[in-house]
Symmetry: D2
């Protein structure tokens, strides 16, 4: 059994890692931490009766791998020591995501304390970085909007099919994305029937998306990313707009996407016919509720031939394929397990 | 008192017109129709106890003005007779919105039965067509997404500030926009935690938006419009992306918008500082919940100077400023009343 | 014009009073207070552009009447001075609701500072206390659950029809009832798909309900009241269970209720047939969404003859007939206006 | 491997059985049926990419066990043949739940076609009927409200602790409980902010609850059950009110409940202290969101000593412990597997 520890198990990210790892057939969660001194069910009532203890971070013992579900800025201070004793790090925060130090320090408003380790960290999207993940000591698990956007646009940029200067992405997020901290925009009377754009210019995930899509495109890419909270709890819909360089068709694009992701278990290209059906409308685009609670990402698209405009829809769960579940997929790679071990279950319907 | 009749009072649009006109100080609703033979409260429980009768459409008597809340294709067959006897028509459907016959007939899949009246119909956005509305016999009340998008982008196009070929709009709609007809995408177990893109290419409202923005720009405008349902009941958020032709700043843009709408009672430019506040976050973009149930439209914006990308947020209620309330604003203009008569009340908070 | 001041306009109760009074034809709101120093739209974005100033409470001038939307314990310290200068008080809090000092001090954990004024305060349900309200100097506006429950059960207790020892009420509340203060149970990720029982034993409103129903019954009444939060923003459904002393029928009960409330504008007895309808189900019980944002209370009921069990459903909005709107109804009575002035508008549909 | 077939896989019940059995380590789903001729993902987008075929019911082959997720009245016509060939039946409908033929035929408005098999059917609550389930050929899987109510009240009735004539239960249900059929009360614009009481008198589940609690009490029990839909998708909260025969205390009751369910994996007695906590309120009653998507039932309670009134809260998922998951728990018993095989995973948080 792989022995895993979880830092920050009282948060949504850490709690979800704990929940799924708790049933992982090859993993034993040896400890989970919280500074609070409170029991687990205080934070996660879904785990009521599990009797899993929470320990203080300073009581953590060494283990094969750790998930770090702490606010950005913590992992970098722990990494050196962990790496030294051979512990694999899966950082659910942003400490190792950006490869440009100046950008990272500006965006996160901090001095990075172990930049030498950033270079070797693997960006945790297995569908694009599988080999580097297998060999890494540190996994930079991506931001939720980043995962959705990058998976949605990768096939286009890798083939230089779209205007890389005019990419527009609207990211609609459930409220779980805001974390456990109380805030007026998450106060139910305010958000219950509302749509709330936030961090509209220069959202931190923009830099990840530009970095990763730029690597695929082998040139600089500009992404105009706009997030908004919507009153669902879990899940993200990235609506990605782009302008193709040459004429294409919906069916051709779908074929390319299916080819690109043909060997992937978790990324499904949503190819359903556009004809409506009288009794149960057969909508041809992905629904975020279908992947909530899972490691799946569904991608659909459509193309307006008259206006030469392409829209790609990418849905995932910010705690699933956009967070902790993806971290477990990365863990499986790190330890040479089947990539989908412990992650196969389909989502709930209805959700 | 102005005598008004309402065709189609069992639907959401007609019902909302009835509700607001019922308290309008200068209007008497002389009849409301439904083919069903059912009482009003069967459709609108909010009106329980009002004892307002519903009559069959064929029992309708002549009056000063009618609201037509029927499916598109009905108003055109009624217009000739109504115009002849001097009744003003406020069509809440799409029969008179598009000025290009070929486009209309293709988009709506019907032969238009009175195209000669289309030309004289006024497009019902008072902020842009006030004078023609005052003199019209027929008001083509705009589509909900159209109102939000046109109001949001008008100040930019009228001054030729943006690339008119690369406009991208995501329209997020509450479920009231789908009307009363049952459909699996409106079935609560399906939509309750979901985000549902639909009619992604060539949505009918695109043509209204392109037509009206083209008139303002005095040239052809291309709009890439993508709608999605979100699990709120009322309200629309249009996220409008554009690429400015010259450098601008957020504050300059806000000044231009405020100048453009300076005399408008119902269109408010949302100019709040971007600095967060520790206890009650002061988010600088409009919230759809703030205008639900009203004739107000709130417009906010932000500009990414590094990426030369401008995003405009426009919120309104599809039955309010995007529907029946706007129809009443038009009625007020038609009969030389104060434009905001019967429409002044602010929305609910919380909504 | 009646000059009115509002203490605590930054909260939901005070803000709603301000919003409705702002359009009241016989009232001028002369000031509204907030300790924060922040502008009104910071708290209530629905009022954006109204330019209504907020002043500090110590800057308040004298006026004809004040609404007090402050936490319980404040009004009692202000009442003596206000009464002295002839200002009518409408207390939206609980300072004057209970007539038993020992009970009040235990339930609210405070020493009451002006108990002599409690006796003369009128309990603000006009349908039951119209005459004493007209003559009062202080109105104790009822708690939201209390209004719903008392209106729902009054016709039964006044005629001694039910076992007064075995009354069971479940009170389902929208989240607006929790106020503006941030709390984990109002954090959207927690409550968005949840049902949250709280304050299960000895909820403060129980004492109001027992007091008022006891007055009607002319004997002691025991109420077992259980509240729970549900993920709607506004509105309350009180499900009131009781055991009739004699055989009755649904139709007979409905007749009695209709007789009891026959002259009331705001309390509607929901008498719809129980037969289902194939296309649009004709449900015979009240819906909370139908009264949200209004001063209406809808009451419905059913009776299980086999089990001799009666259930009464009472719906209202905690900020409407269960709060600020009821306060305005009381204001109208205090100043000899038509009782429904400024309150007539029906609720939104859909809500 | 146990070979299982699923009748009615296009519905919510059948689809959930399929989803969970698909990952059950000891089960192979050999077929799933739908009359529609449509693919699985047409009904359940969560299963997109699973490539599980749907067959017509007449194509079903023999297997070890079948789940029947068809409308009530179907299973009885299939049972004889299935029993004859040794196939175990898990009926997710109501055909075998009631032991009194006259009651069943009145309540369901049908003549029962194989009443001789009803007697031998086991009522599928393992916590109460484990031994008869192990030996049964037919499992009558309980109604969702029934499971919640019976589990919530069993410890009281078995010890004759409460007045068995005055039991009041309010059952709040998510919309998944209404099934896939379109209906105005499930239309999002209607239910999105609403609370909808329905089938208020004589709900069918009442008879199951009375039957099962009567067996435990060894006397006739009267249950006054009132259901209402609330705008969550999954989950049920049963609020059960009763009047104890003798004085008890909350802590004593909790001890009795914990003793009663001490060996149960899926029924958890929620024993959390009542003291609030300043930063993260420690609410002592179960939350429905904590068990959504699982086979868990959480039970909490409180006692009002002053009013001698006891309230028990029981939460479960109508498709989980109140439906398909419980069916799988029963399957495990039928085939001598560990009772929690394939069912151990905790629910999502946030849900």
């Amino acid at each position: 059994m792989i022995e895993v520890g979880i830092y920050g198990a009282s948060g949504y990210m850490g709690g979800e890692a704990l929940r799924v790892l708790n049933e992982h057939p090859e993993v034993k969660v040896v400890w989970s931490t919280s500074r609070s001194g409170k029991p687990l069910e205080y934070f996660h009532r879904n785990m009521y009766g599990s009797n899993i203890p929470l320990i203080k971070p300073e009581e953590a013992s060494s283990c094969d791998a750790v998930f770090i579900g702490l606010p950005t800025g913590n992992a970098m201070n722990m990494a050196q020591d962990l790496v030294k004793i051979g512990t694999k790090i899966i950082d659910l925060g942003a400490d190792f995501r950006l490869k440009d130090r100046e950008v990272w320090e500006r965006v996160y408003g901090k001095t990075h304390s172990c930049w030498d380790l950033v270079d070797e960290a693997a960006y945790g999207i297995p569908e694009l970085h599988r080999e580097s993940i297998r060999k890494a000591r540190i996994i930079a698990n991506p931001g939720c909007f980043s995962s959705a956007s990058i998976l949605g646009l990768a096939p286009l940029l890798i083939e230089d099919m779209i205007d890389e200067e005019k990419i527009v992405i609207d990211g609609l997020s459930g409220t779980a994305g805001a974390g456990t901290e109380l805030d007026i925009t998450m106060h139910h009377p305010e958000i219950g029937n509302n749509l709330v754009p936030y961090n509209v210019v220069d959202h931190r995930h923009t830099y990840e998306i530009e970095q990763e899509l730029g690597l695929l495109a082998r040139k600089s890419v500009t992404v105009n990313f706009t997030p908004a909270y919507v009153p669902i709890t879990r899940g993200i819909l990235a609506i990605c707009h782009c302008f193709p360089k040459e004429e294409v068709s919906r069916s051709e694009l779908l074929e390319r996407y299916k080819l690109f992701y043909r060997d992937e278990y978790f990324v499904k290209v949503f190819d359903m016919p556009k004809e409506a059906d009288a009794t149960w409308q057969y909508l041809p685009y992905p629904w975020v509720a279908a992947v909530s609670g899972t490691n799946f990402c569904h991608i659909g698209l459509d193309f307006d031939e008259k206006r030469n405009h392409l829209v790609v829809f990418s849905v995932l769960d910010s705690l699933g394929k956009g967070g902790s579940h993806a971290g477990i997929q990365n863990l499986n790679l790190l330890f040479n397990l089947e990539e989908n071990t412990g992650l196969k279950r389909y989502g709930l319907h209805p959700y």
